[in-house]
């Protein structure tokens, strides 16, 4: 278990896991530097700055520069972790991510902080429910969406070990630590968290624990749901998706737009290999005003809502 800070009721903020893991890596590897766009506190990097002020580059509120400077630092032999709010990092600087990072294929780590709808009432400008859709198209860029503090630590360690560009989507939405029989993280490999043959629920990020709770509720009714944690979105574990299609029904659950993200990726695979009944849970697009909890409830992204969608989907199985 990582040393993440526990919030209410044993919930954790994965940003703590990110920053503590990064500090641990930075102790051992002097090439590691951080690059921020006035995003020190929101990235939980205050302690990093205190320990290594000379290893933090704060470019100010300038996302194009934060990404490009990361690319330049990599050219100069550094291993930069560029950390900023995912909504601005990925949208404002998309061309820099495409050309300077992915197409040039440089050793830069992009940390999309406070992704998804974590900014709740601040609205669609601050939500980042499109990031996976527009990053998923870029060659060379590994995309990881960790589900809890332990997986966040694994993702950050894996990102540092990869000699190439990586994007890690880190949420500030409190999540519980997921109980795992086997703790094994591998980039590009889906994690089977619960086996079952009635349908497969494929989720990632902060939706994984909700999917597990939904599966437990379904089991009480005699429905055995497989739960697959698809934390790596690129490269995609197509074999796990094709295997999931053998259940005859796939439900995807993500804290992202239903267009172009995990659900879109899964749909692309099963359409070509084994079209089965499928439903995508997530957000339809720009969202109305509401708190995080209200928005999740409103769009059915709760254990009850996911279980309900699963029952409806099973009824559509051929």
């Amino acid at each position: 278990m990582s040393a993440a800070t526990a919030t209410a009721a044993n919930l954790f903020d994965c940003r703590d896991s990110f920053s503590r893991t990064l500090e641990s890596l930075a102790e051992a590897d002097p090439r590691i530097v951080t690059v921020v766009s006035d995003s020190v506190g929101s990235s939980k990097l205050v302690n990093f700055r205190k320990r290594w002020p000379e290893r933090m580059v704060n470019v100010g509120i300038a996302e194009q520069t934060v990404v490009a400077v990361g690319a330049g630092l990599a050219n100069g032999g550094k291993v930069p972790f560029v950390s900023a709010a995912s909504c601005f990092l990925t949208a404002r600087a998309l061309e820099q991510i495409k050309a300077d990072i992915a197409y040039t294929n440089v050793n830069v780590k992009l940390i999309g902080q406070s992704s998804g709808i974590a900014y709740g009432e601040l609205g669609p400008t601050h939500h980042s429910i499109e990031d996976l859709a527009w990053l998923r198209l870029l060659n060379n860029l590994t995309l990881i969406v960790p589900s809890d503090p332990w997986e966040t630590e694994q993702a950050i360690r894996a990102a540092a070990a990869i000699d190439g560009p990586v994007f890690v989507r880190v949420s500030r939405m409190p999540v519980p630590a997921i109980e795992r029989k086997v703790q094994k993280f591998e980039v590009g490999k889906a994690e089977l968290l619960r086996d079952g043959d009635d349908l497969a629920i494929i989720a990632n990020g902060v939706m994984v624990h909700r999917a597990l709770a939904a599966a437990a509720a379904l089991a009480a009714d005699g429905i055995e749901a497989r739960v697959v944690n698809m934390s790596t979105v690129n490269p995609l574990d197509e074999a796990a998706i094709i295997a999931a299609a053998e259940t005859g029904a796939i439900l995807t659950v993500e804290e992202h737009s239903v267009r172009g993200g995990l659900g879109g990726a899964v749909a692309e695979v099963i359409t070509e290999h084994n079209p089965v009944a499928m439903h995508r849970m997530g957000f339809p697009g720009f969202l109305p005003t509401g708190s995080v909890e209200w928005l999740l409830e409103h769009y059915g992204l709760t254990p009850t809502g996911i279980a309900g969608a699963a029952r409806t989907l099973i009824a559509r199985k051929r």
């Binding site: 530097v33 690059v35 000379e54 290893r55 580059v57 470019v59 100010g60 300038a62 194009q64 520069t65 490009a68 400077v69 990361g70 690319a71 330049g72 630092l73 990599a74 050219n75 100069g76 032999g77 550094k78 930069p80 061309e95 820099q96 050309a99 300077d100 197409y103 040039t104 294929n105 440089v106």
Partner: protein
């Protein structure tokens, strides 16, 4: 530390620079003629700058393109690959024969440079306003390590209409990146019209000074002036250097001279032959 940084400069590189600038113009125009694609006007405005850099200023070993101690050159005006690829081939990064594949199917010589295809390319450019911000990152890495390498970046002038340059300019000034040199190919023409009638840049020198840069204005076709300003040691300047190189688009060929239609115009046989007669 690499041996590159301590390599002595040639005593009088100006003869070589002159010859190579002419060669870049002739070779790049042949590439554009054969491909019937390219940006020859900007190739010609930048030819003297590139020749001065590669044959007078930059410290590099083409057999070790990733040597940590190399001077970096970033071609931000990535559309002017005729001149850039000619310079790289002439400098020994790859065989000159490769230039005849320019923009052909599966060629390593894409219309815009790709680091993964060719040695000597530091970062992939093409979209404008990318080279300076990346160069600042390189210069910061050098500053962190107190490394002696220098970083040079060449932008167009129309390119400065991209806001990313000004975010970056603010940072370079703030960080006093004296190891960074920006060269602006100030030919005063962008693809469809003059810069000043499109979105005016003047007074350009004042803008860079206001962002904390040291500014030098030179004739961008005067090899001696370019050599003097680019080869001077940056130590102690305490500011990044902006060299505004006043140039002429299409410089060297009479019918292309300061003519906006040669931004991405390509020559027919008669035009090509006339240009070759003039470029001697």
């Amino acid at each position: 530390m690499s041996s590159l940084a301590s390599a002595p400069l040639r005593n009088d590189p100006l003869e070589t620079i002159r010859a190579k600038a002419l060669w870049i113009r002739r070779r790049s125009f042949q590439m554009v003629y054969e491909a019937q694609l390219g940006h020859p006007g900007g190739d010609f405005s930048a030819a003297d700058i590139l020749a001065t850099l590669y044959w007078g200023v930059l410290r590099f070993d083409p057999s070790q393109p990733n040597d940590p101690g190399r001077d970096r050159f970033v071609m931000s005006k990535g559309h002017c690959t005729g001149a850039f690829y000619s310079a790289l081939a002439g400098a020994g990064y790859f065989p000159e024969e490769l230039l005849s594949t320019y923009m052909q199917p599966l060629s390593k010589l894409n219309g815009h440079p790709n680091r993964n295809y060719l040695p000597g390319v530091e970062t992939n450019t093409g979209p404008l306003g990318h080279g300076l911000p990346v160069s600042i990152g390189i210069a910061i890495a050098g500053q962190m390590d107190s490394a002696p390498f220098r970083t040079f970046v060449l932008t167009g002038d129309g390119e400065l209409q991209e806001g990313s340059n000004w975010e970056a300019a603010l940072n370079a000034g703030h960080r006093k990146l004296e190891n960074l040199t920006l060269i602006i190919d100030r030919n005063r023409l962008q693809q469809g019209a003059g810069t000043e009638e499109t979105a005016s840049l003047d007074p350009l020198d004042d803008k860079w000074r206001a962002f904390g840069w040291h500014v030098e204005m030179v004739d961008g076709h005067d090899h001696q002036a370019l050599y003097d300003v680019l080869s001077a040691s940056p130590a102690g300047r305490g500011k990044p250097l902006c060299v505004i190189a006043n140039t002429i688009k299409g410089k060297g060929v009479s019918f292309m001279h300061d003519n906006v239609s040669w931004h991405h115009g390509v020559p027919n046989k008669d035009q090509f032959e006339q240009a070759m007669r003039e470029l001697v």
